[in-house]
């Protein structure tokens, strides 16, 4: 390089700017590392569960109920059915309430009320699930005994804030010009919500529901109090306690039988696949909805 290049003000690097550049690079590295750690943890979990669980995934797992104590064999049919029924009931309870709550909060509530509701939802989302389990235990189980119904109430309380907040987010994304457009044509607020806002936000509400379902399916703590004493048979009566996937994982993993332990891993793999699939579907749907709403701006 010639002496002239050295004097080029665009290439002169002062110690100060060199330090800033270094700091910038360092921060970038740290952040990238944190992102990497999160991904690696997820991959390790998936890999290790799949490695132990896959060999035990077979037809028996889905078609056999849990074997009686001391007998080898058996599957988790009763737990799968139980989880499906309880999750469905919890979703059926939480979705209407959560969506209506979100609509009230974003479309009708005065600003102060809406702030209060959002704070309440955030607090509710942070309540440890075992606390919600013991709450339902005291409220329902003590007087009526364990039942799938009691469990689904607890699950519904847990996913209510998830569904309500996710729905709120997508309702807020709907441009206010659409609301105005509808009101300017002489529509009432309620009519505007039903005819314009909800159809625009439908994809987002589906996403919120899927995320809620995935959450409910994996919850364990509230099940302990509300639906953990059950027969090893497929139960479809919601007034009776049902087996569930999380609880099946727990009990099978405690068993001395090698087969049962295998079943626990397989059940864990199934549950994880279900939750992952739910989250990914939800994520993709939500991206699509966002793009669609973006078009309306």
């Amino acid at each position: 390089m010639s002496a002239q290049d050295d004097r080029n003000p665009l290439t002169v690097v002062s110690p100060r700017s060199r330090r800033r550049k270094l700091q910038g690079r360092l921060m970038e590295l740290l952040a990238s590392f944190a992102a990497l750690v999160a991904i690696v943890v997820l991959l390790v979990v998936i890999f290790s569960v799949a490695k132990r669980g896959l060999p035990a995934v077979n037809a028996d797992l889905f078609t056999q109920v849990a074997a009686p104590f001391g007998v080898e064999g058996g599957g988790i049919k009763n737990a799968i059915v139980g989880t499906l029924i309880m999750t469905a009931m919890a979703t059926a309870m939480a979705v209407p309430i959560g969506v209506l709550l979100a609509i009230f909060d974003t479309e009708f509530a005065p600003p102060q009320v809406s702030v209060a509701i959002r704070m309440t939802l955030n607090v509710l989302a942070g309540v440890p699930t075992i606390v919600i389990g013991i709450f339902i235990f005291g409220l329902v189980v003590v007087s009526n005994g364990q039942s799938a119904f009691a469990a689904s109430i607890a699950l519904a309380i847990i996913i209510l804030p998830v569904i309500a907040r996710a729905t709120e987010e997508v309702l807020l994304l709907v441009p206010s010009t659409l609301r105005e457009g509808s009101m300017a044509l002489g529509a009432t607020r309620a009519r505007t919500v039903v005819s314009v806002i909800l159809p625009s936000a439908f994809g987002g509400i589906v996403t919120a529901t899927i995320v809620g379902v995935a959450r409910a399916a994996g919850e364990t703590a509230p099940i302990l109090f509300t639906s953990s004493i059950f027969a090893n048979a497929v139960v479809t009566d919601p007034s009776q306690p049902m087996a569930s996937m999380p609880f099946a994982i727990f009990t099978n993993s405690e068993s001395p039988s090698h087969h049962d332990q295998q079943v626990a891993w397989a059940a864990a793999l199934l549950l994880m696949a279900f939750v992952l699939l739910g989250s990914i579907t939800g994520r993709l749907l939500s991206l699509r909805t966002r793009r669609q709403i973006e078009q309306m701006r």
């Binding site: 659409l178 457009g181 009101m183 300017a184 044509l185 002489g186 529509a187 669609q292 078009q295």
Partner: protein, 299 residues
């Protein structure tokens, strides 16, 4: 206020003979002073007396006295922040939707107090339609966008015919007649805005309020919208907000010029400086602020 003397007797039902959207032609006509006072003999649609609109107690626009006449295009012009949109939105009570907005003074619509306690804003908005700054079609089909308001108001007989008439009125029918079931979002910006106009016309309003309807459009789409405004005034009373003086000169019979008043304590609010036939306002403004604005010295 500048109420021009009649320079030439004219039939009150006779709209000014402007068919071209060419600003040059129109301005030449304005300059030649061929226009008589267009408000002559026309029914008053809106009468504003000492109207002040405030947001949370802070006035956005103060003490407006103004009348709007039937089958004319009235333009609200002025720099940003002069409250012209706020005033427009008070005419179909869209400000009701904004928490903290309040109106003082009296706005009457065909002699009835617009803000009277027994006035139903829903009924009001059926009669006083609105087109917004940016096209805001619903994420529905073209057909359903136009039919939306009619379904709301139970105008269900011959829905297809009504949709066709509204789209024809908005000069959009030929472009969309083969794809009425297509999403409104697939239209271009200019087409979307004409769809929004069709949507407003579909419920057969008396007045159409337009809030800078062409500000988000390219020049050709703007010309479409302006031509449309011109052709619609035979049936509707139109109020159009614009910060574009040429647009006002091209389309408006009456122009009201608003400006921003800065008071001693530094607070700002909009005021109506003057209003009158567009030609007067542009050729012989009576207020120096109007002159400064129309000659392009500010704004």
């Amino acid at each position: 206020m500048t109420d021009q003397q009649d320079t030439q007797p004219s039939d009150p039902g006779d709209a000014p003979e402007v068919t071209s959207a060419n600003p040059g032609t129109r301005l030449t006509e304005l300059a030649s002073g061929h226009e008589s006072n267009p408000t002559e003999g026309r029914e008053t649609v809106f009468q504003l007396d000492k109207v002040t609109i405030s947001y949370s107690g802070k006035p956005a626009i103060c003490d407006v006295d103004l009348s709007v006449h039937r089958n004319l295009v009235t333009a609200f012009i002025g720099p940003s922040g002069c409250g012209k949109t706020t005033l427009l939105r008070s005419l179909n009570r869209m400000n009701d939707l904004i928490p903290g907005a309040s109106v003082d003074g009296r706005i009457s619509y065909h002699g009835h107090d617009l803000n009277g306690s027994n006035v139903d804003p829903v009924e009001l908005r059926r009669r006083i339609g609105m087109v917004f700054q940016r096209p805001n079609p619903f994420p529905k089909s073209i057909y359903d966008n136009v039919a939306y308001g009619m379904r709301l108001h139970g105008m269900k007989d011959d829905l297809d015919g009504r949709v066709e008439r509204a789209l024809t009125h908005a000069a959009l029918w030929d472009e969309v007649k083969d794809r009425l079931k297509a999403s409104a979002l697939s239209l271009s910006g200019g087409q979307q805005q004409r769809l929004c106009i069709a949507r407003a016309l579909a419920i057969e309003p008396d007045v159409v309020l337009m809030d800078e309807p062409a500000s988000a459009l390219d020049p050709i789409s703007t010309q479409h919208v302006e031509d449309l405004v011109e052709s619609l005034k035979a049936e509707y009373t139109i109020i159009i907000v614009t910060h574009n003086m040429q647009q006002s000169a091209r389309v408006a019979d009456i122009t009201a010029f608003f400006s921003v008043d800065v008071r001693d304590d530094g607070s700002r609010s909009g005021v109506l400086v003057e209003h009158g036939p567009t030609s007067d306002l542009f050729i012989r403004p009576s207020d120096p602020r109007t002159e400064a604005y129309v000659t392009g010295r500010f704004g």
